[in-house]
Every structure is written in C-alpha cells, then in structure tokens.
C-alpha cells in the first residue's frame, strides 16, 4: 500500500493511494498562493499599477522590465496569474481509477487532472460540493477571463534567471509547472465526470475496495472518506469541524439535573426534594439563558450549516490520513468573529467603508449570519451590505436548497415558511444586496459608508482589486481579512503604500490540534499519516509544542513529491466457500470451541473476488484425448498427509523417551522452545511452537521411531 503525495499544501491536499489493485486520488486541491507573485488584474484601468517601474538587475540590466514590476520594494510578475498544480510526474495520472473529493475547496485543480492527464476514471463527490465547487471555479474563470491580458511572462521562469531574482520569486518552487487558469469548457467537462454520492453511501470499486463518504461537519456537503476492504481500513480525514450545533453542554446540563434528581438521597423528605428540584430547575433556566445568549451571538453558525462530523465510523482504522486542519491554530473562530464585528462597527461608525475579501461561499455565510444578529444591536441597520461576485446570486440561493445536507437545526427550518439561512431576510429587507460585478446596477445603488464582500481573497483579481484601489488611500476605511488561505501581508504588498486600516481576522473552523488529539484518542487508528507541517510546531512559534500532532506511534509525515509505503501488511483475504463445498466438509473438534476441517477445492478468482468451488469430479476415463484435456483442467489432487495439531509437553515427552529406552536425555530451553538432546544417539529434537525437527545422523530407523513418539502427542485429522 503506497501513498503518493502530489501536493505540499496541508489544506489543499492531493494524494494518490494505491490499495489492493486500485488507484485512488484523494482530493485535488489547487495551491493558489502562487498568484501572490503576480500584479493584480484591475477591473478598471489603474494608472498606479500601469505606471509601476520595471525591475532591473543590480547591474542595471533591464531585460526583465517588461515582465517584472517593482512596487514598494517588492517585485511582481506582470502577467496573467498562474497556479501551482499538483505533481503530475510522480505517478502516471491516467492510471488513477477514482478521485474522491472531500469539500469544494479541495477540487479546484480537477480540470487540470481530468482534462490533461489521460484520466479515464470517475470522480465522486456530494452534490453541494459539486455545485458550490462549480461556483468557485466559475467565479475564478470569470475573474481572470474578463480582464484579458495580452502579455504573458515566461522569461523569468528560466532557472538561471530565477536565481537572480529577489525573494520570494527566487524561492518559488516548480515555476515551470505553473499554469494559467482553465477555461469554462474544461470546467464543464471535468464536472461531467463527477458522480454524485450521499453520506454513508457504499461505493464498490472493482469488487476490491469499498469507499464511503462521511459527514465531516466543515462545510455544506463536506466529507471524509473511508476506503476499506474486508480486513483493512483506511480513513481519509480532510477539512473536518467539531463545532456542533446541538449544544452538547445544554444536553449535559439536562442530564446533570436529571442525574441529580435520580441521585437525591432517599433520606430527604418531600419538601426538601421539591426545594432541590426547584433549585436545579432555576439553575437550569439560568444556564439555558446564558448559553442561549452565548450561542445567539458568540458561536459561529457555520458549524450549524452542515451535518455534524461522523467520528464513530472512523474507528478501527489501520491508517488514518489526516489533512486539512485549521490554518490558524492559535485563533479561536468565535473570538475572530467578535473581532470582525467590532472592527466593522467601529469603521462604519466613523464614516469609513469596510472591505471583506472572501470566497463566494463558506465563511461568508457565517459572517452574514453573525451580522444579521449583530447589526441591530450595534446600530448599523442603515448601513448597506454589498455582496459582489459573478456567482453571488447562485451562491445565496444554493445555500437555501440543500436541505438534506444541513444540520437538524436548519433542516427543520426548511419546512417552515422561513429560509434556513437568515441572509434571505437580509436580502428581503434590502440590507444585503448582491451584484454580479461592480459594473451595471451596482454603480447606481452604491452608497457609502458600506460593507462590501467580494473576491478574490488573494487580492490579485476580481472586484476586490477595484475597491482596494478606490478605498486604499483613506485611513477611515478598513479591509478585514477573514479567509485564512493567503498571507494578508503578501496579499497587500502590491497596494503599498496603503492608508486604509488592515485587520486580520482569519476564521477557520477546521480541527485544531486539541480537537485532533481528542479525535485520535477516540478513533485510535493504528497509524496516522499527515503532512510534515503538522508534525512540528509552526516555524514562527517554535516553542508551541501544543501546535503539532502528538500521537503514538508518531505520525508518519509526507511532503510534496514523496512516496510513502504505508506501514501495514495485508494478512488476510476473504474467500467465499460455495454452499455445496461447505456441505461436504466434516469439521472435527480439536479443542472445545475450535473445529477444523480439511478442504480440497478450486480457488476461483475474478473481479477481486475469491471463491472456493468444489473440485470437479475426476471424469470417467473415456477417450484418451478427452482425458488429456480433462487432466489439464483439473488441478492435481494429491492425497494429503494428515494435518497435525497440538503441543508437545516436554516433561512427558522426556519420560516417554526414557520409557522407550533412551537414556541420558537432556533438555535445553531456547528462545523459541526446547531442544531435547539424546547424547548417546547424537540426536537433537528441536521443539518449537510451530515445528518440530528431529536431527539425527543418517539413522532413518531412529528418526522414524522418534517421529512416531512425537506424533503420539499430536492430534491428526
């Protein structure tokens, strides 16, 4: 069993698992951080960007000045942004049988794989994953295609030239494999290869393995996967969240109250009991009130979107591949939402605008739900919220219709005359307005101060570029980064000098290391495999030993372009016995509860299924030709020697030897058993757990005698 690691990005994984003659790709993430090396694509002509000076080498050589521009000490490639693809050389991707997608963020490289590698297999994903993934891809293609750029830079990628460039361009890896964005046609073709699956649906792959998606609790339709055969189980955990909707602490409170009532000392009188009950009830009410309020404003609703994470099904795994943990392990999502709201309110109150670079799905639902509850209390009811994305409308509408994928809490709302997500109400009351782009209706409706949600979080393309240019000069405005995928300092680099305030509130609800530690304790896999980043503290906080995976045995780590041999051997294979063959067996009980029978049969293997069939009866000898053919078909069924079982009690064996005239018997203990030494006969009898050897010097008579003595202690059948 091997794991081929095609991506080094821990939250945008792309691995290939070879397991029992199947080749399974686990996720297909696209690392977009490469785009940070490029100049932003302005939607409206930007004199500032177009007038940036070209970059020249220290010796004044300016041959790269068309390709590279300098801005506030940083150098950027002036070209259409390119993405860093998963490794395509490590394994022949045309041999991949299936691709399993765990969430919509982890499928962005799909068109590159399915359309350009000879891939002929099937992709499995849940419906919301596909639909929202499509929106993300559509938005990406739209952002890039609507600002066509004639120029394409490739000179700087030359290895000899790249060495001369300043950081981070100098250190960028595999630049030669960077590719431009795919087209909508490729997206459609890729998505057509996807087969939709539901949670807990069992999918057979060639009879060899079974794959099953499980709810991972992170996003709408997000899933972990189980890949198992009859005797082996691999779990793939990618992008999971444990923030649950069902307030377990409340349930716990009810349990406590109930438990306390049950455990009330029986010596208490009725009135004392009543007092205790009333007290506990009051306590419970107060507790509910406090928790209720907290949940109302503090906790992230994102957890409430999707069904809770299915942990139980991950138990008894031989290998657990763990990817997609939180990218901000030190930040608590609830605290960040608070920070987001506070900064938003302060900015707007002072007449400034707030820009929130974001993806068109995911965290934005969280933020809108929090704001829905917050704006009235903060006196922001008159502030317009704009959501600008080519897919804004679809995103807002899609989220309302995936009833079966929502948590119980939201599911019940689907059957009421109110939408499950409150952003519908924000739209109805005109507090939230959405537009496909800054062009068109938006420019008529636009009024300030306002809050704008728009993409792309890298600040390299999309409508966000326009707002950065528009609002960057005023210190009244604020840009609040909520997506954790990009370093906000690097994202802001081409906009320097910048007067607007920058707030970094990354919201990542995926598992943190404490949750992982609890998960691993509960699930107890035999081996854990994870990206190397998770096996050591983050470089910036090398003392934080709590920010790494701590498990026993230590997790195996992988990095990009590595092949891991997974540390377990397959010991068993399931074989079916045909009923008529089973009928013919005569088990013999060798010790209480254990019966054995010898089987003579033909092993028939097809489509990774093994069946024992009765051996064909020897055909009656007819013509010589026929007999010859028949004897070719039928395997030789030799008369088998009886099978032996049991153990040899050394002391009794020695006594038996002595009774049979062997004197001078010595016994030595060895690591594996015993050696009985017949000094006179110069003979050794080596008795081990699973074998007994008689070593004597060419005396067959003696050997047979001794063998028969040994056999007396064993059972035959």
């Amino acid at each position: 069993m091997k794991l081929y690691c095609l991506s080094g990005h821990p939250t945008l994984p792309c691995n290939v698992l070879k397991f029992k003659s199947t080749t399974i790709m686990l996720d297909c993430g696209l690392d977009m951080t490469s785009t940070l090396n490029f100049l932003p694509l302005p939607l409206v002509q930007s004199p500032r960007l177009s007038n940036l000076p070209g970059w020249s080498l220290k010796d004044g050589n300016a041959f790269l000045d068309k390709e590279l521009k300098e801005c506030s000490g940083h150098v950027f490639v002036d070209s259409v942004p390119e993405f860093c693809l998963p490794e395509t050389e490590l394994i022949d991707l045309s041999t991949v049988d299936v691709i399993l997608i765990s969430n919509y963020h982890c499928m962005m490289a799909l068109p590159y794989i399915t359309e350009h590698t000879g891939f002929t297999g099937t992709v499995y994903a849940t419906e919301p994953t596909v639909q929202i993934g499509r929106l993300l891809m559509e938005e990406l293609v739209n952002f890039i295609e609507r600002v066509p750029k004639a120029q394409s830079a490739s000179l700087w990628k030359n290895k000899d030239i790249q060495r001369l460039l300043p950081s981070p361009l100098k250190d960028a890896v595999e630049v030669s494999t960077w590719r431009r964005c795919y087209t909508m046609q490729e997206v459609n073709s890729a998505l057509s290869k996807i087969q939709l699956v539901g949670y807990s649906q069992k999918i057979e792959l060639f009879g060899a393995v079974q794959v099953t998606p499980l709810s991972s609790g992170y996003a709408l339709g997000s899933s972990n996967w189980i890949i198992q055969s009859h005797y082996e189980k691999v779990s793939y955990v990618s992008g999971s969240s444990l923030l649950t909707t069902h307030p377990q602490h409340l349930t716990a409170a009810v349990d406590t109250v109930h438990q306390s009532l049950v455990e009330l000392p029986s010596g208490l009188g009725f009135w004392s009991k009543l007092v205790v009950v009333v007290f506990l009830f009051l306590f419970y009410l107060i507790f509910c009130r406090i928790i209720g309020r907290k949940r109302c404003l503090l906790s992230l609703p994102s957890s409430s979107f999707s069904q809770p994470m299915d942990q139980a099904s991950l138990k008894n795994s031989d290998v657990l591949v763990l990817t997609g943990l939180t990218q901000i392990p030190t930040a608590n999502p609830d605290g960040m939402v608070g920070e987001f709201c506070s900064n938003l309110a302060l900015t707007v109150r002072n007449g400034g605008n707030v820009l929130v670079p974001c993806y068109p799905s995911g965290v934005i639902y969280d933020l809108l739900e929090c704001l829905y509850q917050y704006i009235d209390s903060a006196g922001l009811s008159n502030i317009p919220f704009y959501f600008i994305s080519p897919v804004a409308n679809s995103s807002l509408e899609f989220s309302q219709i995936f009833a079966e994928w929502l948590c119980h809490n939201k599911q019940t709302k689907v059957y009421l005359p109110e939408p499950p997500f409150p952003h519908a109400e924000l739209i109805q009351t005109n507090k939230l307005r959405h537009y496909p782009s800054i062009h068109g209706d938006f420019s008529n409706d636009f009024r300030q101060p306002c809050v704008v949600f728009t993409g792309h979080p890298s600040l390299r393309f999309g409508d966000v570029v326009h707002f950065m240019e528009l609002w960057g000069k005023s210190s009244l405005n604020t840009v609040i980064f909520t997506e954790p995928d990009f370093s906000y300092l690097e994202a802001l680099a081409p906009y320097q000098p910048l007067a607007m305030k920058c707030i970094y509130c990354p919201i990542d609800t995926r598992l943190n290391f404490i949750q992982v530690s609890k998960l691993l304790k509960e699930v107890q896999p035999l081996h854990v495999v994870c990206p190397e980043q998770y096996t050591q503290p983050p470089p910036a906080q090398s003392h934080r030993m709590d920010l790494m995976i701590d498990c026993q045995p230590p997790a195996m780590s992988y990095r990009r372009a590595e092949v891991l041999a997974l540390p377990f051997k397959r010991l068993f294979e399931k074989i079916e016995i045909m009923p008529e063959l089973a009928d013919s067996l005569v088990p013999m009980e060798i010790k209480p509860g254990i019966s054995l029978a010898t089987v003579s049969a033909v092993l028939h293997t097809k489509d990774n299924k093994h069946v024992l069939q009765p051996p064909p009866r020897p055909a009656p000898p007819t013509s010589g030709k026929k007999r010859k053919r028949a004897s070719e078909d039928i395997p030789d069924c030799k008369v088998l020697k009886p099978l032996l079982s049991g153990s040899i009690p050394v002391e009794q064996f020695v006594q038996t030897l002595e009774k049979h005239g062997f004197s001078d018997v010595k016994v030595e203990d060895t690591a594996k058993g015993h050696i009985v030494l017949l000094q006179e006969a110069e003979t050794l009898i080596q008795i081990e757990e699973d074998s007994t050897h008689i070593i004597c010097d060419n005396d067959e008579m003696l050997r047979v005698r001794l063998r028969d003595l040994v056999l007396k202690f064993l059972q035959k059948f």
Binding site: T330, G338, R349
Partner: protein, 785 residues
Amino acid sequence: MAAEGSSLQLLQENPCLVELLCHVLKPQGLSARVLSFSLRLAGVFAAQESCFQYLQQAELLPGLFGEAGPLGQAAWSAPTVRSGWIQGLRSLAQHPSALPFLADCGTLDTIFSLQGDSSLFVASAAGQLLVHILGLSLQGPAEGPPSPQACDWPVCAQKIVGHIEGSLRSMATPQVTQALNVLTTTFGHCHGPWMQVLWERLSPLVACLLQEDPLPAAHSLVDLLLSVARSPVLSSSDCGLWETLAQTLRRLSPAQAGPLALGILKLQDCPQALRAQAFGVLLQPLACVLTAADQAPGPPGLPEGTTGDSVTVDTLLSSKSACAGLLCQTLAHLELLQPLPQRPSPWPQAPLLGAAVTILRFCNGSAAPASDVGGRLCAILAGCVRVQRAALDFLGALAQETGPQELVTQVSAVLLEYLRSPDSSPTVLKKAFQATLRWLLSSPRAPGCCDLDPDTQLFLRELLPVLRKRLCSPCWEVRDSGLEFLTQVTRHWGGQAGFRHALLASEVPELAEQLLRDPESYVRASAVTAVGQLSSQGLHATAASPEQLGGQKESLLAELLHVLSTDSEGFPRRAAMQVFTEWLRDRHADVAEDTERFVARVLQAASRDLDWEVRAQGLELALVFLAQTLGQPSARCPYAVAAPQATPPGPLAQALRALSRVRLFEFAFRALFDCDRPVAQKSCDLLLFLRAQATPSGGLQEAEGSPDVVPVEAALQRWRAGEQGEPLGDLEPEAVLAVLRSLDLEGLRGALAESSDHVEKSPQSLLQDMLATVGVRGENQADCY
C-alpha cells in the same frame, strides 16, 4: 411543648403518646415515616432526664433504640428510619444517665456501622452523633486532668476511642476517613482538657498513617491536623503537633499539601520554621513556573529553599487537569493569604508578580521558554481559561502593593495583551478588566501634582481604544464587562484631568450612550449606570459640545426617564433609579434645575413599576428628597440614630407642601401596603422619619384647625385591601400629618420585621389548614402533625 415544659408531665397527661410509642414496638407494617417520627419523638422526650427514666422503666427505649428495635425490621432499609433513629439518639444523649444506656444496648456498634451508610445524610449524622457522645461522656466526670489510661475512661468513650483506633490501624481508606472526620469534628467543637489526652493517645497512630504509601485519606488528615492546630487546648501545648505538621507537609503531594500549608500560615501561633516551610510548599509551583520560564538556577526573590522540586514539576507536567488544578489552587491560596495580617513577611511581591505574568504568558502562548520543562508547560497551559482566570484574579490582588517598575510595565503589557486578544473568553476578559482596574487605581500619582503619572496616562491611551472595540463586541458579556469597567474607572478618576482628556478624546462616551439601546438588558443596565456616572462627572458624550449643552443634557435625562418608564426588563429600570438617586444626592446639574419636577416624574414612573426593587429604590430617592427638603444634611441614614431635630413650623409647612407637590405622600402611603415586604418596610421607615421630623413641633396642626383626613384614610383602606384606587391628588400637609399620627407605624414595622412566612407558621394558620382539609375531604384523614 417538650422544650418549654416538663416532658414527663406531658407524657403522664397524655397517655396516648406512650401508647403511640408502644404501638411502634410491635412488629407490624408501619410506614417508614411514622416509625421515623416516633423515634425522633421518643428522643425529644428522653432528652429530659426524668422522662428518660420514665421511658426506661416502661422499657420503651431499648425497644426503640436497642438491638430489638427497628434494626431488625424491614423498615430499617429505609434511610428515613435510620435517620430518625440517629436523630432520636442525638436528642436523647443530653445527660450522663443516657450514657450507660448507649453503652449497654449495642447502640454504639450500630452507630459505628452507620458511619458507612449508603445515605450520605445518615452517614454524616452518625459521625456527628459519635462526636456528641464522646464529648458528653468525657466532659462530665472529669474535674481534674483526665487519666491517660483508657481503663479510667467512661465505657462509651472507651468504646468510641477504641473504634477510632481500630479504624486508623486498619489503613483502609473509608474507615480511616470516617475516623479522621470524627476526630476533626471533635477537635473543632470540644475544648475540654481531655482533648490533650485524646490527642496524645491518638497522635502515634496518625504518625503511623504518614508512613503509609499511598497515604490513605490525605484530605481528611489535613483537616484533622488543622483542626487540632486551631484547637486552643492543643496549639498552646507542646505535644509534637508542630513536628507532625512539618512531617505531613513533607509527605503530602503538592496538591494535597497546599490546603495544609495555607491553614498553617493562617494560624496565629505557630513556630517560625514551620511557617517558612509551609510558605515554601505554597510557593513551590510558582517557583517551578519561574524556573521553567527563565532557565535560571533559581528564581530570585523567593524565600530561601523555595525551589521547584521534581515532584512538583512532575505534577505540573503530568496532565493538563493536574497542572491547571495545582496552579489554580496555589494562586487562590496566595490570593487568600495576601491581605491577611499574619501573612509571611517579607512578602515576595516581585517574584509573585513575575510568576503571575509568566503564567499568563504561558496561557496565551506569548512566552517563549528556552527550557524543555517550559516548553511542555506552555503546551499544557496554552488556552487554559481556568488558569487564566485564577492568574488574573491573583494579579489583581497583588495590585495592593506595587513592585519593581520593570515588572509593573510587564503587568500592564500582559493585561493589555489579554484585553486586546480576540481569543480571550468573555469570563477571562471580565477578570482582565477587573485586574486592570485594580492596577490602575493603585498606580502612583505624579509627584508634585494630583494628576495621573505619565506611565498611567500612556497606558490609558492604549487602553481606551481597546475598551472602545470591546464595547462594540457582539458578545454581550464583553460589552457588559467593558461598561462596568468604564463606570468604576470614571467613579474613581472622574476628577483627574489626564483621564478626562483621554476619555473625551476617545469615542467611548458616545458608545456607552449608544449601548442604552442594546438588545441585552444586562448591557442596557450597565450602560445606564455608566452613562449616569459619566454625566455625574461631566464626562457625558455631549457635554463636550457647549452649543448643544442645554438640549442634549435634557435629552439624557429624558432618555433615562424613558428607560425607567418603558424598558421591558427590570435591570435597566433599577439601574436608572439608582442613577437618579445618586444624581439627586449629589445635586447633579440636570436635577438641580428643577428638582421638584424631576422627583415628581421619577416617583410617578416608579409607582407604576412592577418590579419591587424599582419601587424600593423609588423610596430611597424619596428619602433623599425628604432629607434635602426638610433640611436634614446627613441623608445617609437619618432615622437610625436618635430622633432628628424638628424643623421649625414655617419652613416645615413649605417643605411639606413641596413633598405634596411631588406626590411623595401618595407614593409612600401606597408603598406602605405594597405586596412586597421590603417596599412596605422601607416606606414604613420613611414615614416614621417624616413623622419624627414633622410632628414634635405640634404647632402646625393647631394653627390650621382639624384637617379633613377622610379621603386619605378611605384611600388607605382601599390600598390595604389591595385595590388600586384613584390617585389622591394634592394632599394637605396637615391631613397627611394627622393620618401619620393615627397610623400605628411602629406596630406595622414590627409586623413587617417578622419573617415572611410567620403567618403561615402560626398555630392559627395550621388550624385553619387542618379544618380546610377536613372540610374538603369530608372525613378525618388530615395529617395533623
């Protein structure tokens, strides 16, 4: 009845009682409750010696409490019967003649076994009973010092002590715990000279316990040793106690030793060496933290010998819960110790500050320890809310004294980090605000002037933006803590120019005013208090713009009145009443403009309020106004001392008319019959004060002739009957005074001072209940007792 007279007589006069007890003796299917009651009743009777003899003669007592009694019956399985049995014995054991009875009929053995009863109440009562019997048996005959020889002791005492010795020798944790608990209670409650003998006899066994590994019942052992050490009989004598304590301190695990160390340090008379040892034990976890953070050979400033030993380090590193538990316990103990006069001296303020700061830095991950232990400690403590809260509390407590400037700067920095961090949980933030307040208020004034020193001003400039952000938090607890902090800091520093300047330059006052409309009632209440305080100090948001002064000022008063009359929740309305009372008391400018109108409006709103606290606060405000109007300068507690000086008749009439104009009389009279007792009590006090103030002169009534009190009394009658009734309109002061004189206010005050259920508890009420029950059921099945 038994408590008030002779039980014997009662029994003799009511033979049915003895019959009842005899009836119980018969083996029959009596209900457990009746049996339990009978046992308790028998105990109450037998508490008097004469009656005890009487019942003995009737051979009732052995039947009830001896082995032949309910012990063997099926009813014994009911905890209520066992509990009744113990309570009966507890009542019975009041006189020496009961002791032979207890010793002879096997009662003690049953009590011993009940110590391990499945019902905690029974088990605890059994232990208490043993203590009581031991005390009774030992205190009686001993006139001189009791003999150390056990054979000279009363049989009961011998048996009990023998049982305790046996339990201690058994080394089994449940038995040892029971024995130690009995001893702890004994040494805590009994103070006879025999205590010393008892301790001398038992201390070797306690010392033996200390040799055991693992130590059984360590917590109970600590309790016992502290109880012995606190006992005046023993602590003054040299009976090896201090040595045992020292040995125990060495023997216990760090978590177990903490409470013992604190207990020792709280003792008044204790050898210095033992105190030093105890303090060392208490400081050890913090010494470990400091060592782990610094990698220095030993933390400077701690008393000598206080180094983090390996056992403490192991405990800290063993698990998250153990580490958090030990640190929280240590911090809480030191916090308790800090303000005590007998705390160790010199007090290691600097290392303690350092330790608190280091722990807080470990918890938020900002410390970068070089040592391996530090790294592991950091991993364990990162994000641990419990430790953060304990450390912030402790840090706040340390603000009573200052420390080296460098450390104070670190304290400010770490507090700011916590206040700023988005990851601070609401409870941690609250603690951080509280600690910050304590440090701010303890900061030194700049030399030569009364304003804040430059460091504090610098700190304030950093703090206020944080406060501003916190007031915008989506979490209501955070907004609430922020407002509370603002109120407190303004109360103390409202007069400091530096603070005023910084606050007015920030956006905080405006935000506070906006929070008056917060959706959360707690926050609205805090906002009302904060805005009221800001306004009192002239720091209200709009006070800065003079051109709008008049209109805006009015608007704040109007806004608070609006809160008072319309807010759906009680907390903001109560807060508004408190602010108004304070404003009136301090003669706030808004109020002083037209005090009568202000009081009239507030009282009108308060009188309609459904929340009794608002009405009670309304009376408080009325009292302040009364005191101001009648010229009583000390309005704090005007009716508490001697009768106040009467006001002369002329101004008095004028003042009374003013009170009438604001409808204070009507408000007070209506409150007199309020269904909530505190309101009625307050009103009663107010009217008593008014009467004392106004009537001694007597001239008013005579001058005006007899007033028409009929409408007032009619209204009072209606209110007393619980009706709403019409408003009274303007009252003639003379009529009010006449009504005041006619009311039995003292009697009313006495009635109100009774507990709220005194009516229900009275025999008359019981009788009524019984009659009612009988009447309803139609047959005589009432459970009268």
